[in-house]
Point group: C2
Chain length 259, copies 2
């Protein structure tokens, strides 16, 4: 979260989608899958690259899958399902993943996850999951997952990269979803320009760029939703300052006007 | 807003920052400045590129600057200024740019602009503006500004590009700002996967990616805040479907749970 002038030197960034990641199963080693896909596509990871990984492959590898046949819906889940045409068991999983419900209307649930992220359905998602009755949860500790991937790549390939784990979040007031960082390791979440002066001598006061989220969004440009391309490599982005976590991106309760 | 499979073919995207845009003055022709900067840096724009432009250069060229010495604060602006240490004239400009105030607390104003965007301070900003008492407003009609730039580049360089005009917006629940699209021309705001099936046969229901916002965020990775690099070129991103506007990104009142 330290001041970044170095970012201003990056004037060319490349983003590659990594092909060849297979359908991930519980117990798979994400690092091995990435190393294998890099080798198969003759791509090389370089120190300073940012590796962006869709949370779904991490969640699957970590076994964060729920078979709805094993879920007994609560009366409240049945009530919610009566409003829409959705599966009460799906609602039950969403409720269990929610630390707090921020808004609920017309069957739509915006909740705070145990990590503190606020998103639709507590991050529970049925797409790109193998099995008709299976839903996918966010990783238990996405920052720790990112760190393990970073350390694993360092050990296997002798490269020092930043790792971002992403999910697609809707936004207030704007249509559509964007990719954001829910796990982070090896790079700072922000470029903090506060206290620096613009070329006209004006002291910047509110300029804290959420670069981890911008990198996450940039990566989606090569990922697509149907292409089984859950990993992207961003090259040429300069950062400096203390590495942080995606939890740093969560707004403090005291500052939050929309709790 | 049409289905996009083509995006899944983009597996390498490049982002260049365009150097050599001078300090922009009211009356300047943004297209001429971009053409000049391209020539000076021996860069070529290609059909299919996405040109991303910080709104500030557009606003300045369009004369959307206010000298605070010409502003008479209202009693309400004085009241707000008493809470913080900010200039009551600055608050007055924010109030005049606000169609509606969504939240107001501790001197922070989240308002809806006349375009319908919800953002801090109604988009009024004092940074990167020439002159100590001058603040910059958003363009009057950023979609029209984007269209003029696109048409101007088509006429001058015979290229067909997408154009995005950006601003930095804070987000609910997350720290830091990200670049988003406030003006758009020549490309769709969304990649809409609804109704398509993932590799496991699951029908996607909520997958509408706000690609215009993700492109805006990606562009900031090469822009920086201090580098006078207000224009970026994104190459290799595939899109298809009807071009749209940034207004399409604004959530309908009926769907909005956070008005």
């Amino acid at each position: 979260m330290v001041v970044s002038e170095r970012m201003d030197r990056a004037n060319a960034v490349q983003i590659f989608g990594l092909d060849g990641i297979p359908e991930v199963r519980p117990g798979d080693d994400v690092v091995e899958l990435i190393v294998g896909a890099l080798r198969a596509s003759e791509a090389k990871l370089q120190s300073g690259d940012v590796l962006v990984v869709t949370h779904k492959v991490v969640s699957k590898a970590e076994g964060r899958l729920v078979n709805l046949n094993d879920v007994e819906p609560s009366p409240f889940a049945y009530q919610l399902a009566a409003v829409t045409n959705r599966d009460p068991r799906h609602y039950e999983v969403i409720l269990r993943e929610s630390a707090r419900i921020v808004r609920m209307d017309r069957g739509l649930i915006i909740s705070e996850t145990r990590h503190g992220f606020v998103c639709a359905n507590a991050g529970v998602d049925a797409s790109n999951v193998d099995g008709a009755n299976v839903v996918c949860l966010q990783p238990l500790d996405p920052d720790a997952s990112a760190r393990r991937i970073r350390e694993g790549l360092q050990a296997r390939l002798d490269v020092s990269v930043g790792v971002i784990i992403t999910d697609s979040f809707g936004r207030t007031w704007r249509n559509g979803v964007v990719n954001v960082a829910i796990g982070l390791s090896g790079l700072p979440p922000f470029a903090d320009y506060r206290g620096q002066h613009d070329p006209n001598g004006y002291e910047l006061r509110a300029s804290v760029l959420a670069i981890a989220d911008e990198l996450a969004s940039a990566a989606e440009l090569v990922m697509g939703k149907l292409a089984r391309r859950p990993v992207a490599i961003i090259r040429g982005f300069w950062w400096e300052g203390e590495p942080g976590t995606a939890r740093d991106l969560i707004m403090d309760r005291e500052r939050d006007l929309f709790r």
